[in-house]
């Protein structure tokens, strides 16, 4: 039962962290929350399909179809988050100057939520399906799963409500910046999947910080959720992470620079 609580908590929390940050930042822009229902439902359908076709997907590409699928989804989520961050900063800085780009924001949020729920959901679905084969063990697993999922949802809700206490303008800034390492981390995780599949050559780790924070501990899991923390990352992972941070932060800086220039231009 304990392992069911942990697995569900971990997977649900990972998806909920993203969802709560998206909800908080989109609400600050006056986007209604209805998109979340569509996104989660699409994700659940996606998870069902992924789990249903899991056998043939795993066998594809010489047995590394799972890694390719997960990697592609993670790269897509990462790219969509980066676009979303830049978009909310454009809207934030040019409020009076550009047409609202609500539709694009909603499409990006649906993509992120749908893919995140598909990924995490499929694993949980497979996990549960295994225990359903063992009738005497399935009840504690379902109970533990419900408990873990409930915990994950509560923490997500807590993050969302904590964020809504921040004034909308500032919330966009805080939420947008919090999403930057999440996006970078997902690209790094995707790269790790490609190394697991030997599509990208793996190397010796760049460092080992397991003496400071071990993965799998509570702190490690929290750092993983926000920063995709790994104690022993390889150079390529760190490089991809850094590149994503750099691109997004430069984009944000550019938006601030041009919006300031435009405002001062108008004043003159």
């Amino acid at each position: 039962m304990t392992s069911a609580v942990i697995i569900f908590l971990r997977e649900v929390l990972e998806a909920m962290l993203l969802v709560s940050l998206l909800m908080a930042t989109s609400a600050a822009q006056g986007i209604q929350r209805r998109w979340i229902i569509v996104g989660v439902l699409a994700g659940l359908v996606g998870a069902g399909c992924y789990a249903w076709q899991f056998d043939s997907i795993s066998d594809a590409f010489d047995g590394v179809g799972q890694e390719i699928t997960n990697g592609t989804m993670l790269y897509a989520i990462s790219a969509a988050i980066m676009c979303y961050i830049l978009l909310i900063f454009i809207r934030y800085r040019f409020q009076r100057h550009v047409e609202p780009t609500i539709a694009t924001s909603i499409v990006l949020m649906l993509t992120i939520t749908g893919l995140a729920v598909t990924r995490e959901g499929a694993e949980l679905y497979i996990y549960i399906s295994g225990y359903l084969l063992l009738p005497d063990q399935s009840q504690p697993i379902l109970l533990g799963g419900a408990l873990g999922a409930g915990l994950g949802l509560s923490i997500g809700a807590l993050i969302y409500f904590a964020m809504t206490m921040i004034a909308p303008d500032r919330r966009i800034l805080v939420g947008g910046l919090l999403l930057v390492p999440v996006a970078a981390g997902m690209s790094s995780q995707a790269t790790n999947y490609l190394m697991q599949a030997d599509i990208i050559s793996s190397q010796l780790p760049l460092w080992d910080s397991s003496a400071i924070v071990q993965e799998g501990t509570v702190v490690g899991e929290l750092l993983y959720a926000f920063f995709s923390y790994e104690a022993t990352p390889t150079f390529i992972q760190v490089a991809i992470y850094g590149l994503c941070l750099l691109v997004t932060l430069c984009g944000i800086a550019g938006i601030f620079y041009f919006s300031r220039k435009q405002t001062s231009g108008e004043r003159a």
Binding site: S3, S58, I126, L133, Q196, S201, Q214
Partner: protein
Amino acid sequence: MGKRLVTSLILFFGHSAWAATPEFEIEIRDHLFYPSELTIPSGVKVKLRIINSDETPEEFESFELNREKVILGKRSGVVFIGPLSTGEYPFFGEFYPKTAQGKIVVVDAVEAE
């Protein structure tokens, strides 16, 4: 001169494809890993074939190796690990962590032989 060029070209382009990646097998049976301790050489990439003989799915996971892969019941899967430096790298079955525990022991290439 020509021969040397051909040889170096083969060495350069053929290196990864020609140098056979050592392959090891780990079986999952009754939610246990067999062997639960696997010794591999350091500094080289290794192909792990994980065979799940149980009816139930399992996830091969290791924080130390940064690897995770779901293997359905009665199926097998491939995971590439390494190059690694010498040491111990625990792994576990995320779906049945109470029993499914094991470790990869990485030793100097000479010792492994």
